[in-house]
């Protein structure tokens, strides 16, 4: 039952994050979405994933709140109640297949004796490589933007 409620919360907050017109409200919905994700991971025994998602989600939400305050503008002719009701209705409809197709009873697990640290240590090379690739691609993107800007100013 709890898992079904968490699933409904996930879908509802995702729909609200997309549908709400105000950027700050959408970010708050995304924060609730991250909370539901943390609960889902915790109930499945993935404690490390839950804690990490909570930490990363807090940082992401703080950045998005700052950006939402800067980027938000009052939408013209907005109907907040209508969009809210549409999002809630869509969430209820989308939750039905997720709940009806569920199988079995969830038994809470405790993540004792999981070789997490060994797995993380073993994959450190891939972690460093992936982060290096991301930094390289971001640096290339910034270089291209600056080159275009410099070329535009010359023209």
């Amino acid at each position: 039952m709890i898992i079904e409620l968490i699933a409904f919360g996930l879908i509802l907050t995702a729909c609200l994050a997309i549908q709400l017109d105000e950027a700050v409200y959408a970010v708050f919905s995304l924060a609730c979405f991250f909370l539901c994700t943390v609960l889902l991971y915790a109930f499945n025994g993935a404690d490390f994933a839950a804690i990490f998602t909570f930490a990363m989600g807090a940082g992401t939400i703080s950045l998005l709140l700052l950006a939402g305050g800067i980027l938000s503008d009052k939408p013209e002719g907005s109907k907040p109640l209508r969009s809210l009701l549409t999002a809630v209705l869509a969430a209820v409809v989308l939750t039905v297949p997720a709940i009806l197709l569920s199988a079995g009873i969830i038994i809470p697990r405790f993540s004792f004796n999981l070789p997490f640290e060994h797995t993380l240590w073993g994959l450190r090379a891939m972690d460093i490589l992936l982060q290096g690739l991301v930094m390289l691609s971001v640096a290339i993107g910034i270089a291209i933007i600056l080159h275009e800007k410099h070329g535009g100013e010359k023209a």
């Binding site: 996930l10 997309i18 990363m56 950045l63 980027l71 997720a98 697990r109 997490f116 993380l120 991301v134």
Partner: protein
């Protein structure tokens, strides 16, 4: 609970937001939803199999995703301040006007 169905629904919501919304922040939120939906598969399936590989992959992917989100947000704020709008349609119109004036 069939978590694959749940993550597919969440990914569908994210893709809908990515295709239908024109505000820059909504696009970024949609991308975040897609990323969380995809990583949810790894974590839940590995937890059911009592292995830690899915959690490890979540940590690797999520840390990278957060860095990319921060850089994309900085770019969005720069674009919004420079052009005075966060709407993708208006930004495309501005770009067309700029190309037309150059030609």
């Amino acid at each position: 609970m069939e978590y694959i169905i749940l993550s597919a629904i969440l990914m569908g919501i994210g893709i809908y937001g990515l295709l239908s919304k024109r505000h820059l922040l909504k696009v970024l939120i949609s991308i975040e939803l897609i990323a969380v939906a995809a990583s949810m598969n790894f974590v839940t399936l590995s937890a059911q199999a009592n292995k830690a590989l899915g959690e490890t992959l979540l940590i690797l992917a999520f840390s990278t995703d957060t860095c990319v989100t921060a850089i994309v947000l900085a770019t969005m704020i720069y674009i919004s301040r420079k052009y005075g709008t966060s709407d993708l349609t208006k930004l495309a119109e501005l770009e067309e006007k700029g190309e037309a004036s150059k030609s």
